[in-house]
Subunit: 356 residues, 4 copies
């Protein structure tokens, strides 16, 4: 069951056919889920901007940092050059170097990259150390490559998969979530897709309903206890022809979507948004004969509908991650319950969001 | 009537006694409202960090830019030096220079500032040009000084006053709004106050209830028409002892509060947050014998409750501005209706927010 | 006499025909110099990106802040939208609001702008308060408009003119300076021009010769006395087709040129660089039927020669300002001597820079 | 021979006793140099802010990015929280993940860190791929740990050691360099130390003498050939009590020192500056009973001499790296010559810098 299956719509724009980041033309997503014994609960998720050699055909991109208590790799080069040249990997905090290393191997070994001596791997993370033996650093380069190889353009698997295997959100089991929005044809018909790895806290709201407050389970609910820390990695893809500057602006809006779920971007949170455009008209070839590139760009004035789409898709992707995640036991017998769907359905009814 | 009078609480923290930015010890606010003839509908609002000579006793401060389509004066020096040295003025877009000039005059003429040759005026704005003859630039330096002189520490007047006289929000009459939050004693007992000048659009939500959607009045509701543009100026004050770095982090959270009202930080929006601390332990004297200052600072780990307070206070301040604003006619016969309170109360009931 | 007249070349690239920012196609510069009585020594300088209505045909632009102790107007909107929509005005610190107001009047009154209700004036400044009665705020809107009207594409007048009338640099008389560089045809043949308003300190170096040290006139030369404060406004223009991102990168290099003159970007300095492209292929029309703009952009890989040009042109523009400035007496009998050319020529010889 | 041995002084401030970053109280530096067969020419350099457990006793820090074509790890958390919690490692581009992994292992295994589940490794790099088989990724975690273990507070070894083993600068052999400056007692007597890993290009200047131009070896010297790319990692340490904001400002000045050597921060350059304070009065304990920390901070007005020190120390550190580096042959028979000292000494004489 998703929130949308219950008849609850988030926002005012239509979703794409899959309601998934893979609605954006060219985007592929793959997971590797690592569950071993009683205390390994982690994984990796790969997001590919297109089917080809991404190093040779870079995509314009930007990264916005909502709160920077995190270990994301690749920030400064993306900001300087305005592009991404590898798949994006999400994983756990202490496996960022391993994933970065895997991306280097992957890129160096791709056909056509025989002379490449510099690669900027982009890796995001959240800390799954509550359920997962994170200090054990169980993710290997092979796992990361497996996630890349598993990537396809189907509806994204959500919940306890890939980088979301061991995560926690709002005191419940978090995970991977995804959603998309499509603009009306008159506004360009562009698609914006979001994929999130939820591992943060605050006061949960679902479609505006104060679920966290009603369940009496929220940050500060028992004064000094309970931490909202953790992080939320957000990835936005669009087929709108945007350059890095407008992608940065788009990325900022994802945090507004997070806010609507009750997230507070707490001190200990690593809230990063990676945004890229798959439009072929803005693709950036690694090498080119010509010094000048001709690009087609959406004007500033046309950005607002995309901003709205990013906010809505991010909000719904977070909620989707919660609905998809299932109760999991992990390290030291720690258990994270999935959100209590029955109670939530009742609340959605009490608050007029579901009308029978 | 405020939203709180209706029994609706926004967030989980308590408000201060006035539910106003003036709950923060030392903060004073004053308005000058300029309504003349059929087409002058504007004003100025002054926020003072303390009672003394602010140039001689600067306060730590930071400015966060949610979306920078705006003309705020003073940004770079605040960011470089980490402090504010004048009252903060809010006014209309084309009167920023006049207000900045007034702040220079004000500062140069203060006792003790006889040798001052450099002043960094901080002035924010939104565009009230729908109701106001903004091209006429009717605000004078005297008006701005009047706002400063009118400043007191009472509950802030809200709605169609000062810089909020002619503004528009979500297609309705906007204005000035304010709110505050107080942390539990165990978390320091600090107060965070917000003051906003609302002039922006999106899809209005009140306490999570999709008011804009239900009223069928929102950005994109009739496809291509309707603009969400405009801006939101947000000012945050706190008595927590914060330096500029943590004030910048606090400022970022105000945009999350804005997001919860349905704002989308559209392309044409100037969404700025100015945050400062009134704590005397972080005050910055203009001149000092000693090269070293001893300051008491809240640790990073203690910031999360303040972030939450900033989100809640900003959200409620925006909603307060809408409840306080009244229908106004202005330039060229343009009319902005106040929010339809009866309908909204009904919606709050339908959505379980008000229970009789 | 200029440094180049003496046979000293700064850098390795060729200058344009005028060795002036006006070598960049379309750029015009105008000054208004205000010298009155014994204590008014100030002015305004206008830089126009092109001949037309700049509001209707905006140019891509970026602003880099070396050290932000300054009052520049217009920063945030330039950064958000990536363009400039008015002439750029340089003036004294306390006249920024007046100049901003003048730019608003100028823009509102231009043919075609009858419905404009939002203008982002860009105004830079340095503090000429040593020679000038800056507290008197003698610059009026008329003066600023005069500077705009005086703009032409001739070689820029340098020294004690316009915004450089009362400035001080390295303890000597500073002023306006300009220089340009032209890339070899194989690298695109682009021109980069710099215009500076010099009012800062450090340890003067001319073409690598330690002039300040030799003259025993530099920051810290007598231990505690002497301040390097003040500011340097730098404006870069180019006809290379660059977007805001690469213009920001270009702007950063101007501070490297400043460094080579011995500037240290002291605590009290407002070191700002405004960079824009005059290329018609990247022009940004205010309104457009089409949502998509086709632009031609120079690839990242082609930027390095432009960076080098920006460094060289800025360094030489600063030196040019010093050679052009003449001794001036002003407020309270303060006198600033021009650089001692005879001694400097001797030093340039001693240090092998001039060979007879 | 160093430049200073030749009697040439860079700048006007005194050096510390070692003219090395280790003049800053508490700082330790260690190298691991990896030279194997004909094509492995690389290494790692560790900089430790103090002797204790850095994770438990973090130091205030900031990172400034001159040009971000680089893979530095750790940026965003340093910026958000204002501190560094590991040793700083410099290595080659493709070994950043390995070094980051080593820092995680190192930190997790330190006594007192048994419960740590989140570590922010700070790793900088330059690309030594001209001499080194960088694609082979020969650096292991053991090598990195060895560099940390080798750290001491002696004068830093310079040239072809550690992370500088295989680097190239201005077309010559680059390497590790270091220098320091001490302020006069009246200005606080603080020390600023710089350590650099030089691997960049431009038009070499030594103490203002146009060496690159005279040797006809500089970027663009034969029109289209020759690349200035590569990078410069710069690390600044000081015992002045600075917070992250003023450390960021200090960091910006290092790029001004780089500019004075003729660097241009080319498109392909990764020019990063990491600055930290070793002052115990600003140390940041990982956990603390008290929510408030009392810190002693240098006032903004006292920063200028430190800025000057940072510029001078960085410039000299870069020149030191060139004087210390020796000719090296590496991958595919590539050879990098050390700077031609005889010719340079002659030039220093011709240009009046050395007087017999």
């Amino acid at each position: 069951t998703t929130i949308r299956d219950l008849g609850v719509e988030i926002g005012v724009l239509n979703t794409g056919p899959l309601n998934s980041i893979t609605d954006v033309y060219g985007v592929k997503v793959g997971h590797y889920t690592l569950i071993q014994g009683s205390d390994v609960r982690t994984g990796a998720t790969a997001i590919l901007a297109h089917d080809g050699n991404i190093f040779q055909q870079k995509v314009p991109a930007a990264i916005y940092i909502g709160n920077g208590f995190g270990k994301l790799a690749g920030y400064s080069q993306v900001e300087e050059l305005g592009n991404i040249e590898t798949p994006i990997i999400l994983t756990n905090t202490l496996s960022v170097p391993t994933a970065a290393d895997a991306l280097i191997d992957y890129t160096l070994s791709q056909e056509g990259n025989e002379d490449v001596r510099s690669v900027n791997p982009v890796v995001g993370e959240t800390n799954d150390g509550y359920l997962n033996d994170i200090r054990g650093q169980h993710i290997t380069k092979k796992h990361v490559i497996s996630a890349i190889k598993a990537a396809d353009s189907n509806k994204v698997q959500q919940g306890n998969v890939g980088a979301g295997t061991g995560t926690r959100a709002f005191g419940f089991k978090g995970g991977i979530g995804s959603s998309s929005r499509v603009l009306p044809e008159k506004l360009g018909g562009y698609t914006v897709g979001a994929l999130v790895q939820t591992n943060f806290g605050g006061v949960l709201e679902i479609a505006g309903v104060p679920v966290g407050k009603e369940l009496n389970k929220y940050y500060l609910s028992d004064s000094l206890n309970g931490s909202p820390d953790g992080s939320c990695m957000m990835v936005l893809a669009t087929d709108a022809p945007l350059d890095a500057r407008n992608l940065k602006r788009l990325a900022k809006r994802a945090v507004m979507g997070l806010a609507k779920t009750g997230g507070i971007a707490s001190n200990g949170s690593g809230d990063y948004v990676i945004a890229f455009s798959t439009s072929e008209s803005v693709r950036i070839p690694y090498s080119a004969e010509q010094p000048i590139t001709t690009v087609e760009l959406l004007r500033n004035e046309r950005m607002s509908p995309l901003f709205m789409a990013a906010i809505e898709a991010t909000e719904e992707a977070i909620i989707n991650s919660l609905f998809a995640a299932e109760t999991m036991e992990g390290r030291d017998g720690h258990v994270l319950q999935s959100i209590p769907k029955d109670k939530i359905i009742k609340l959605l009814k009490d608050y007029g969001r579901i009308t029978e």
